[in-house]
Structures are given as C-alpha cells and as structure tokens.
Amino acid sequence: MQLFEVKEILEAELLWEPADLQLEIEMAEAADLMSDVLNRRLGGDLLITGLINSQVIRTAEVADIKAIAFVRGKKPDREAISLAMSKGIPLLTTQLLMYEACARLAMKGLTGSSGTI
C-alpha cells in the first residue's frame, strides 16, 4: 500500500508537503507508548498514534518508521512538524479514533508489524 492510499482510507490531511505520497507502506503499528514502539524486532512503516509531542518524531526516526498518522484530529506543534520535515517523515492527521483507523487499514489489507494480521 502506498502512502496516498493510507491517506484516502483514513480520510486524512497531510501536515507538510511535498511529502512523498508514493512511499511504500507494508506494515503498520499503533501505540501511544513510545517505549513499546522501540521495543520490537520488526520494523513498522507506519505509526498510528494519539501522542503528538516531538518525541514521537524522534522515536519514528530512531526506529526507522517511514510515516506517522495522528488520530482524533490531533496535530503536533510547528516545531515537531519542522523536525518531521527535516527528517523526511510524512505526517497525516485523521479525525478517526485509533481503533477505527487501525481497523480501516487492516480491512484494506495493511498488515501489522508482528505479522499476525
């Protein structure tokens, strides 16, 4: 699945442009606890989260996460968005709740980072 498809499925808004909408997203994970994101062997390409501070961007960078989707219409501050831009990490924001966002993507075939769906 490519990032533009994720954007459509989540009816999301892109928080900085021009992010690469052709970016390939093969696996996703959802977490609000950044240490959980860091505590895994498999990489997830997309992080779905309700947390919007700059540590989310840093965590994504460190853990090789390609893109982040914020749920419940949340948006990080300008500084966090600038950090994401400088690291080339596209940011999406969707009005959907976390469970709904995950379910929509799973129903469209996006797998989880542990490979169980």
């Binding site: 240490s35 994101v37 960078e61 460190v62």
Partner: protein, 149 residues
C-alpha cells in the same frame, strides 16, 4: 595500515525535552554515513535513545561517549543525578520512577533499561545514589558496508 579509532562526545541536558533524542539522531546519522547495516544502526540508535532519554528524564546533566572500535561499537552514558538504588529492580520491565510529565511523552513505563539490554550485546550499569549513573553498552558490529580491512 593505520588503525584509526573513531569517537565522539556529546552533552545531554537534564529536563531538556525539546532536544531529547538529538544526540542519538547524530549517532544514527554517523553510522548510516559510514555504511553500517541498517538493522544494526537501528539497534544502536534505539539503545542510545533510551539511554539519552533516561538522562533527560532523571538526571541533571550527562554525557554520551560513542566510539567505533575495531571489533565493536561502544556507548558510555554518564550522568550526574539521583542514581539507581536497586539496579536489578530497575531492570524489571514495568518498574519506573518516572514522574507524570515523562509518561505524557510516551516514556517512563519502565521499558528503557530492558530495551537497552535487548539491543546491546553487553550492558553494564554502575550507579551511586545521590551522585549518578554510568551505563556502558557494547554492540558487536557487523562489518560496515564500505568494508574495512
């Protein structure tokens, strides 16, 4: 051929949440630039980031020393802070003394030390209550892509 040892030293400010992670980002950039295996780079970056966050969250200030040795990579994080009274207890997943502001940032759930242990080949912790903590991590490196002798 002359053997060159590569090392870097960075300072970490306690409670400076805006810049937390900056040092580990630099460590990652250096390793990427030197052509190390991406999975290895991620392991190092994660371990470094957790150690850096511990300094930011708990200590007054600290340093991160990072060295590429012939057979391995070494990270030493020293801080001036409260120290860890019971290291064995602190190593248990879920044990945390982090205040709410740190939990709000998605950390402080007692995963930091175990994440470091998981990603490092060796983890040594020496701590003196009321003075500070020294965390040393060693990661045995796969050869860099560019290859050295």
């Amino acid at each position: 051929m002359e053997k060159k040892e590569l090392m870097w030293d960075y300072e970490i400010e306690g409670k400076d949440f805006r810049n937390a992670g900056r040092v580990s980002s630099k460590v990652k950039d250096i390793l990427k630039e030197l052509g190390f295996d991406p999975d290895f780079v991620r392991r190092v970056a994660i371990a470094s980031y957790e150690a850096e966050m511990n300094v930011v969250c708990h200590a007054d200030k600290g340093t991160l020393h990072f060295a590429i040795l012939p057979q391995a990579l070494q990270i030493v994080v020293k801080d001036r802070g409260p120290g860890i009274p019971d290291i064995e207890l602190a190593m248990q997943e879920g044990y945390s003394t982090a205040p709410p502001e740190i939990r709000e940032m998605g950390f402080g759930a007692g995963m930091g030390l175990s994440n470091m242990k998981k990603n490092a080949d060796e983890l040594h912790i020496v701590s003196t209550v009321g003075q500070g903590t020294v965390v040393e991590m060693v990661m045995r490196s796969p050869r860099s892509r560019q290859g050295s002798a």
